[in-house]
Symmetry: C3
Subunit: 331 residues, 3 copies
Amino acid sequence: MTTETTTAWTKPHILSLETFAAPEYETLLETADSFREVLSRRTKKVPALQGQVVANLFFEPSTRTRSSFELAAKRLSADTLNFSGSSSSLAKGETIFDTAKTYMAMGANIMVIRHRQAGVPHTIAAEMDRLQTDVRILNAGDGQHEHPSQALLDLFTLYQWLSSSSPHQFLAGKKVALVGDILHSRVARSNLYSLTAMGATVHLAAPPTLLPKAFQGLLPESYQDQLICHWEIEPALAEADFIMTLRLQKERMSDHLLPSLREYHQRFGITRDRARLAKDHVKILHPGPVNRGVEISSDLMDDPECSLISQQVASGVAVRMALLYLIGTSS
Amino acid sequence: MTTETTTAWTKPHILSLETFAAPEYETLLETADSFREVLSRRTKKVPALQGQVVANLFFEPSTRTRSSFELAAKRLSADTLNFSGSSSSLAKGETIFDTAKTYMAMGANIMVIRHRQAGVPHTIAAEMDRLQTDVRILNAGDGQHEHPSQALLDLFTLYQWLSSSSPHQFLAGKKVALVGDILHSRVARSNLYSLTAMGATVHLAAPPTLLPKAFQGLLPESYQDQLICHWEIEPALAEADFIMTLRLQKERMSDHLLPSLREYHQRFGITRDRARLAKDHVKILHPGPVNRGVEISSDLMDDPECSLISQQVASGVAVRMALLYLIGTSS
Amino acid sequence: MTTETTTAWTKPHILSLETFAAPEYETLLETADSFREVLSRRTKKVPALQGQVVANLFFEPSTRTRSSFELAAKRLSADTLNFSGSSSSLAKGETIFDTAKTYMAMGANIMVIRHRQAGVPHTIAAEMDRLQTDVRILNAGDGQHEHPSQALLDLFTLYQWLSSSSPHQFLAGKKVALVGDILHSRVARSNLYSLTAMGATVHLAAPPTLLPKAFQGLLPESYQDQLICHWEIEPALAEADFIMTLRLQKERMSDHLLPSLREYHQRFGITRDRARLAKDHVKILHPGPVNRGVEISSDLMDDPECSLISQQVASGVAVRMALLYLIGTSS
């Protein structure tokens, strides 16, 4: 399966979407599509990674993302090993590198790595390459840097929803509102790359503390005209095709970047009234877990006419199968 | 295998034994019997749930019950995902519903749910039905309400022990003493339904603080004459065929419902002397883990002539295989 | 596979190397060798333990050793169950015996046990035998007593490195320096048995607080001339073929057995200068996790010309597959 598309895959690691090019997004979407089909069968397993070991190294704990990767790996018939920071030997004075090398030496073929600190997956990948191993690294979220698999599952959710006949520039002419804690969000950062690469215009909305003026300069210049910043939510939502909300970390309050969750909801929360500013049948996304009544009003979140949140979770397994498959079978 | 018996299975979820009828108990016992046979083979696996996902959502942690369900699922060739409250995103403000919906969207076919609060598995099951999903819910213990799989494994242990030729009313004429913290025990509540439904007469024994007068009124009237309450242990044990002891939670002491573990043992602990009040060859059960020297004297617990505790644990895997099989293959 | 060698295997449990004889070491090394070959294939699984259950009972938590056993079991196609002390019902007043009996009753075929207290795996094994079960026990580290699988993976690492044509007395004429906290190390204790049994001369080096005079008397007299104690590191390293370092537990400082990590490193840490005292191309081992800059200087640890640490981890999976295979298939 998916043999034609994957012959082109050249990235041994999935670290960041900053360096993803259009053909890579397209291959990924097509591969995920074929796994989506597998997942609709009664027997949802394929032998693609049989005998391979996927180690989930979650130095920052996460039940949801870890379960999604674990299930994706199992459905590819890989064996899985779970490591979580709390039960780790890090307390014993071992470095992160040493932990990664230990799992490498045990025979892990792919390491899925989440870490509180930006850049950790990159440095581990560089070390694996320097040691001339075949170990593949997949960034499952590093600090405030990137969270590629989340942005790719968001993209795949939009792709599925639009039932596009081809992934090529499938978001051209679409307006996506991206609302929330842009500054600190690794999800936002990865999404900016993927959404603009697929042709969307992205309107960002957040209070100035969470969306500083300097932010726009971070994207490649070629994408700058696809990216518009707002400090009010209304212009971002106006005529939007999709609203992507970001999770608000409660520590933003103690950091004095926001006065209160209530005030945030009043100014930037997505409610039924605000959703009416967007196009009819606008769809709302959220990477989860949602703070109900903060980023989104509770009724809107539970309305299957509006929310694509469950579809995002389902897409997550297909997209992660595709990622593991692409890096696990490329040479 | 077991194809004849299971055509009749109509319960999509296992939430409570209150609504179980005799044919359901009988189907369950027969199905568990056939899995008991599988477990005696060298290769103890069957492909019944291949490709299906069993998610163990233990909002209240439990190694023993979770391991038993996990092993049952693996022996049916299902893939398993484990979630435990402590490592959860609940701390992040997600509701229990949202967690369940996340695992549903990932593709879980069966969710085994334990929660400190009574009714959580029911409300999740109702939500799954409302959303018209095929997800099955299995209550692995909810607050002080019910613990169906424990009562069913107890029942299966008695069934095996008696080598009855048919499960139909196989406990008719048998006296079961149920001793301990009846009031707060979800195990007791489930057992009262199953034991009386199979024809047993159940004698309950506990101090008045743990067995209030009002308790007897909770059972359906048709069973009332099979249920006798005692505030002393001796009449409950007299001529009993089986003694089922309940685990004493240490918080009962801080709640001032009991003076001390020692006094509890003196008045209600099962010792060799007390066991002599019962029928010759009386068998003792306990859901585990046992507080040695509190509910049962240590020597009695270790005496294979008296104790069925190991058989209960073994029955647990067979009964849970049967439950997962019945709800996982019914349509 | 490996059918010829294993016909001779008679040990149902792996509890200690004190009672290992030369033929057992040789069978183990040959069996591990054949699994090493399996691990070099694309599909690294064999069906040897299909349908069997390996329960990892880690009363003392360890990510690294537990992952190694888990992977070894999965590659033999066994099902695995993980239990860790922290999430246990031990807090509920259950004894260790009761936990082991619970996993036995669930159907565990092999229990891999780690416990803070010396002797726990032995007493559980004795109980399993007394109960006439077929359950096999594998000691994964008990207090300061033994850690057989670690010493055997060390031995296998040396065997692989030397590419000996036969395991028989393959360390004859070799000098091994064993440096560090000999007194408290279960790894050291197991290594002394295995290294001397294979013919090596072992030079121990540690400060007197960690290597008391009485220590030498613990080994069987027949090995005494293969064992030389030093309170300075230089004579131990001189002309050594291998340097095995031990992990320094930080609690040794609070126990007032060592002044500081820095002083320990100055007197007993392996640096490039010190390594020059040994033979050219000396190889350094460490059971991990390493306190970088304490037991070994960081540059030396990362130098693939000097360090066998990664090979040790890789050997761990092959050796544990061999151990599980030998005890899981012997009758």
